[in-house]
Subunit: 181 residues, 2 copies
């Protein structure tokens, strides 16, 4: 951030009085611009024992496999956001179920909140952000070509819980931040 | 948002190609400025059966009671953020426990994620954003002077679960958006 989005003047990075983190502060109007982590919502859609996965058509991790997920938008619940992403990325009308994982992804300044989901009909396809979408049995999941640690974590917890006949939720943290020089 | 924070030129509000929502787009450099909901993290701290509550010293809802909570910051897990807010608002060193509630607050463009917590020692005080901080028994909770719907929801679910001897998590949605004219 270089300029104030309220008045257009340059911003400077400093800790406001009473705060504990540096913020971008406008040199003219004094507006403090807070930057907060973003929420990624998604789901593991299941249809008759098989899982719906998507091959990414966009960076980061183009060509790798993921579950339907994306940035949570204003004016929707987390569950509505997760269902919307399935529609956009996999052209799939899912029914969102229980909470599966909450992952703090520190290097991306994100939290990933993924749910279980049902895909009532085997109807799906590749949306603009996907190269390919398919239903896979657990033994067909391409573990070596999974896009993100949270995808891998969500799929493993999903399958473990399903085998055990439970629907727990799981917390974890991923931190691939580089050490400060 | 009126100006691009990358180049300082005016922004215009329109739907980018392939998108579904209007975004602020720079008229000069073309940067698309996404605005996403923010995460509020907090907890219900308990010490020997009593709950720690804070009277707000700041708007909105100055003078009303809440639990320690605030905006989740970059570079911390949700649990670390919840503990930090207890330290800042109530000078209280808490141990964060299980997930209590996840509330989509559509009119504020926020999600509130609150945890159970233990306050091992009855040591606390009013931080700069609090007028008063105190431990209360369930029958002493000032239900008519609670700051936010999510505070009320979290306290009620906490007490119900405690009485029932369980630690569930609960989803809800609050929507006080005004109808579009």
């Amino acid at each position: 951030m270089k300029y104030c989005n309220q008045c257009g003047a340059p911003v400077e990075l400093r800790i406001p009085p009473g705060d504990h983190l540096p913020r971008h502060i406008c040199s003219r109007c004094g507006t403090i611009h807070y930057e907060n982590p973003r929420v990624v919502v998604g789901c593991v859609p299941e249809h008759e024992g098989r899982i719906l996965i998507c091959k990414r058509a966009i960076e980061p991790r183009r060509g790798f496999w993921t579950i339907p997920a994306g940035f949570w938008e204003n004016s929707e619940t987390l569950q509505e956001g997760a269902a919307r992403e399935s529609q956009e990325e996999a052209l799939a009308a899912v029914e969102i179920g229980s909470l599966l994982i909450v992952a703090s992804v520190l290097h991306a300044q994100q939290v990933h909140i993924f749910f279980r989901a049902k895909l009532p009909k085997a109807e799906f396809g590749a949306g603009p952000e996907s190269l390919e979408v398919k239903l896979v049995r657990p033994e067909e999941i391409p573990w070596d070509d999974i896009a993100f640690p949270s995808t891998d974590y969500a799929l493993r917890r999903y399958l473990e819980d399903r085998t055990a006949g439970r629907e727990d939720h799981h917390f974890t943290t991923f931190d691939r931040r580089l050490p400060r020089s």
